[in-house]
Symmetry: C2
Subunit: 310 residues, 2 copies
Amino acid sequence: MSYVLSGKRAVAEETRRAVEAAIAELGFSVNTVARSLRTGRSSIVALIVPDLSNPFYAQLAASLQEELRTLGLHVMVCDTKADRDEERAYLREAVQQRFAGVVITPFRLVAKDFLPLSEAGVPAVVSADLPFGEMDLVTPDARAAMRAALTEVTRAGRRRIAMIAGPRDATGGDPRLELLRALAVQFGITLPGRLIVRGEHTREAGAAGFAYLMGMKHRPDAVFCANDVVAIGAMDKAEELGVGIPGDVALVGHDDASFASLVRPRLTTVRYPAADVGRAAARLLVERADGRVARRTVRVKAEFISRGTI
Amino acid sequence: MSYVLSGKRAVAEETRRAVEAAIAELGFSVNTVARSLRTGRSSIVALIVPDLSNPFYAQLAASLQEELRTLGLHVMVCDTKADRDEERAYLREAVQQRFAGVVITPFRLVAKDFLPLSEAGVPAVVSADLPFGEMDLVTPDARAAMRAALTEVTRAGRRRIAMIAGPRDATGGDPRLELLRALAVQFGITLPGRLIVRGEHTREAGAAGFAYLMGMKHRPDAVFCANDVVAIGAMDKAEELGVGIPGDVALVGHDDASFASLVRPRLTTVRYPAADVGRAAARLLVERADGRVARRTVRVKAEFISRGTI
DNA sequence: GTGAAAGCGCTAACAG
DNA sequence: CTGTTAGCGCTTTCAC
C-alpha cells in the first residue's frame, strides 16, 4: 500500500496529492485482511463472555471499548451462553483470525483450552476469580464487601444462610461460595451442603433454586446468590410463593448489574465494578503489546451495596 | 492448505492420516486471515447496535448468533453508543475486514454512510423502521399493537397524550412518534408539539423528559416512550416526584426489553420480538450469500403487552 | 525521495 | 487421486 496512508516514510507533497486524489476517486480503502496477513495481527480484540443479556457484561464491553478505541483497536463481543464448545470455538477463532487480543470470562473452560492461544502468542487477559496458566488476570477483591454483607445479615438476626451457587462443572468451581463459606465461620456460622443449591447463572435457575430452598423443612432465613440475575430469579419466585423479602428471607446478589436497583425492594448486592474491570483488562493488553512478558494480576475491589433486601 | 482440512476434494486414506498426524503434532491451525485474503470474505458477521446495555439488543445478538452458527459464521457485536462516528467506524471496519455480512440498527447514520458497504459488496441488513437504500430491511409492523395501546389508554379516560421521543437528529426522525401521531387522530386526539419531548434512548433522558412533562401547567395523563429504557427512566422520576403510575399518569414503553416485567408496576409495552428480528436478519443474509440480488423487506409483527402502567 | 520485489498462508486452476 | 503454481494486497527491505 502507498506510504501516503501509512505515513511510515516521507512522501513528496506532490505525490501525496496525486495519491489522495486517486483514493478519493476510486473509493479505495485499505484491505486490513492483507495487512493482518502480512503483520500477523489484526486490530480486533475479542471480548468473550458467558451471557450478554447480563448487563454486567454489556458494561464491561462498553468500558473495554472506550479504553481501546484510542489505540485503534476494535472490540467485538462474543456470547458463549456459558457453553464450553462455544467458548472454545471463539478462542480458536481468535487465533485463526490473529486477533490483537482476547479478554475472556471463562465459564466452563479448563486451563488446557487456552493452550492454542498461548502457543499462537495471542495476548489474553482472563477476568475471573482464579488464575489461568500464563494469562494475565483481573480478579475481584470481594473479601471486605462480603464480610460487610455478612455483618448486615447477622445483625438482622439471620443465622441460617443458604446460597444459590453456580453449576458444579463451572470453571474453578464457585469461588464466591468458597469465600462465603470461609467468611461465615468468622461469624460462627457454617453453611451445610444441604443449603447450597447449584444451577446456571440464569433467572430460571435462580427461581428454581429459591423454590427448592423454600420447600425445605428448615428454611434458610438468608440467601446469597451467585449473581444478580440469579437473585432476580429468586425474587420472581418469592413473589409467586408469597415469601416476604426481606421479611421472611434476606437476599444478597452479586455484581450490581443495572437492574439490581430496578426491582422492588431494591436488591442488596456486592458490587463488582464492570467499568474498572474493563479498564484494567485494557491496560494489561496494552502492556503486553508493549512487550511485557511476565504474568500480571490486577485486583479490583468489590463493594457492599446495602439496599432493601436484608 | 491441505485438502484434508477443507474436504474440497477426495484424498487417499493414507495421505489423510499422515496430514492429520502432522496437524496434531505441530498444533497447526488454519490461518483464516490468509483464507479471507484469498477468497475476499471472512466468516465474521458484525452486529452493529446503538446500545448494548439495552437487553433488547443482547437478545437480538443471541438469536442472530444461533441462526448463523450452523453456517460456520461468527457474530461479533459492536456497540456504537448511538454515536455516528462510531457507527461509521464499524461500517468501515466491516468492509476493510471483508466481513461476511453486517446487521445494523442505525441510529444517526444517513443513507450515504452506507455507500462504502454496498460498493464493497458486503451484504448488509438494516433493522430499522425505514428502508435504507439498497439494504435489506427488517422492520416492525407495529400499527395494530400501537392501536391496541391507544385503545386501552383512551378507555382508561386519558386524552392528554405525550411522548418522550428519540433525539431530533436520529436517523429517520422518530417513526414511532409519527405512527403514534397518525393513529391518535383516529381516536380524535392530537399530539401537540409541546407534549413531545426529545432525548437520547437512555434512562437519564427518560427521567429528564418525564420531569419536564410533569413540570407543565397542563400535565399529560399518558406518556408513550421511545423504548423501554426511556420508560424506566420515566418511572425513576415518577417515584422521585411522587407521581402515581398509572394513577396520575399512564406509561407505555416499547420493545419489551427483559426488565419491562421487572419493575413495579410492571411496564405496559409494545413488544418487538428481538428473536424474530435476529432470525429474519440471518435469513436475509443467507439469501444474499446464495446469490439473491433484489432488495427484500421482512416485516416483524409487534404485539401490545398490557401490564400495570395504564 | 521513490521503485521494485519478496513473501505472509491460503485457494483454485491446471497438469499430470 | 496428487503436485505445482499464481496471486489475493499488504509491509518491509534493498537498491537507486
